[in-house]
């Protein structure tokens, strides 16, 4: 944890519930999520595919499209509740205060627009008085900052002419050129080659430190989270099951799901080893199990787990777990 980290919450999400009203029924995608990001802090969200990580990110920016709906909760950013803002006001926050790097860099750039123009556009969206020239100059500076060689010429390329790594650099430039206070990174490296992943992560960390942004990093790669984040939030089937300092949670996981997740990581690979896997599959969120959602797969399951929802129990000042095994008293 570095010196910038404060205990001032920049973002506080409380009881956020998001549901999708589909023809097959109501999907309980997020069920009363509570989390926070302090100023200057990097927080990781980990969990399997479909556990609600990306939905959380989109919910924070209020980018949930029908049939999805934010049913209840608050998203408090620097003292204002984003969920109660008008469409016009939330737009002012998006991109300038909170940005999001997306998963598929090549798909996330407009294929018919030169990349330099796309970076400049971020600036022009938020500052109408800015003329094209000034925006372009700033965009070029930003391209240089994300280590794009010969920004002047690269800025005239179209996305399909770039490699995945280059495209992700452009994406990072687009999202950071406005110096946002919070950067949400939605699996920024999972679409990239392993060799480039480290570069992109380093680059992101460098820039974030320069700008002084806080980060909410979504990933299913525990290694990336361990390396870059201060705190980690473990999600399962639309619930937060455990949260705390990265060192605490990853070294001494308390929730059976987190323990399982860590066991699935292949350590020193031995060719004869069978990889560990958690039995069963993620429950359908159309009809989530009553009680603890992990109960059907849990090795320590008790009778009451199938009936009651375990409350969030603080283990220490900054380590919470939601499991009956750790009920106080």
């Amino acid at each position: 944890m570095d010196a910038r980290v404060t205990n001032q919450p920049l973002l506080r999400v409380e009881d956020l519930c998001i549901r999708f009203y589909t023809l097959r029924g109501v999907v309980h995608a997020l069920d009363e999520i509570t989390l926070h990001v302090n100023t200057g802090e990097s927080v990781g969200i980990v969990g399997e595919t479909g556990c609600g990580k990306s939905i959380t990110a989109r919910g924070i920016l209020r980018l949930i499209d029908p049939p999805g709906r934010i049913v209840k909760g608050t998203v408090n950013f620097e003292g204002t509740d984003l969920l109660s803002l008008s469409e016009r006001d939330i737009r002012k926050i998006r991109g300038s205060q909170i940005s999001m790097i997306m998963q598929e860099p090549k798909m996330s750039l407009n294929p018919s627009m030169r990349v330099g123009k796309q970076v400049a556009e971020t600036l022009m969206v938020h500052d109408r008085s800015l003329n094209k020239r000034a925006a372009r100059a700033q965009a070029l500076e930003m391209l240089a900052a994300v280590a794009i060689p010969d920004p002047g010429r690269m800025s005239r390329r179209y996305p399909h002419e770039l490699s995945g790594g280059m495209a992700q650099r452009i994406m990072i430039a687009m999202m950071l050129v406005t110096r946002p206070k919070l950067l949400i990174a939605d699996e920024p490296t999972s679409a990239l080659d392993v060799t480039i992943q480290a570069q992109i992560i380093d680059l992101m960390n460098d820039l974030i430190e320069q700008i002084g942004s806080s980060v909410l990093m979504i990933s299913h790669d525990l290694g990336v989270v361990a390396e870059t984040c201060d705190r980690v939030i473990v999600m399962y089937a639309g619930n937060v099951v455990e949260s705390g300092r990265v060192t605490d949670v990853l070294r001494d996981p308390q929730h059976p799901y987190t323990q399982g997740l860590l066991k699935t990581l292949p350590d020193q690979v031995d060719a004869d080893d069978v990889l560990f896997s958690i039995e069963g599959t993620v429950p359908s969120l159309l009809a989530p199990p009553t009680g603890c959602r992990f109960a059907p797969r849990c090795p320590h399951v008790m009778e009451r787990c199938r009936v009651e929802v375990p409350p969030i129990t603080p283990l220490s000042s900054d380590h919470d777990v939601s499991c009956f095994l750790h009920e106080p008293g």
């Binding site: 926050i93 940005s99 798909m107 996330s108």
Partner: protein
Amino acid sequence: MAEITAKDALNHDEIRRLRLDARRRYLRDSYVLWRRNPITVVGTLIILTLLLIAAAAPLLATHDPYNQILAERLLPPSADYWFGSDNLGRDIYSRVIHGSRLTLMIAILVAITSGPLGLMIGVVAGYLGGAVDEILMRVADIFLAFPKLILAIAFAAALGAGLENAILAIAIANWPGYARLARAETLAVRNSDYIQAIRVLGAGRLRIMFLHVTPMCLSTLIVRVSLDMGAIILIAAGLGFLGLGAQPPSPEWGLMVSDGRNYIVDQWWVSTLPGTAILIVVLGFNLVGDGLRDILDPHQRQS
């Protein structure tokens, strides 16, 4: 700071060369596909001829298209009057030549009014969805429920006869097809990642619709408009024939066919020759349209 990989650092001249190569190959393949289909070649030649005739009309015409010599009315084709003369003693050849300009003007004006109109309505309907989509598309359905010619006649009659009103009427009858097309394209791109990305950046609906969605609809729309050219010309001639389009004495082909219809039995050339001009030009546009669809179809390029 991160290093630059070899893959990323492809030399710029290399990239430029590859880009030029790809473009050249595309053009060459297009040419091959064009040549392979003789019907497309014929269509292209017809359109090129039409353009040349329209450009050089005053040079090609042998007479003043408006000059009436009543003593020489209804003369058969001869060395002096190549296509004969009409009921007011005007040279039909010169009038057909000058009429090519009107035909082109109508086709182009309709294309540049109804194309963008349909595009805008389609993008708005597709992007905003919901009630807006429902209302705009039901209106489009109402328009599409009538044959285009009937609809154009109705609007031309309501607006009053005249070339401008005829163009407007055809444009009004034409937009729903384009709106449907643009809506379909919009639906295909509206949920794509890059639209999401630009929303994350805080862009408003107008910016997204007109700067990020519209360009993606353009290529399909342009093909569709070029396919429609023949039909537009035919409707314009139909309106002229019914007296709802161009007004006398302008040398519009439909109008000329109409002028000659009383003499069709004894002086066949008065109606037939302008009619043939319409036939050839419409045929030309339709042939090119078909060929264009094949040339732009990526599946054809495999072979």
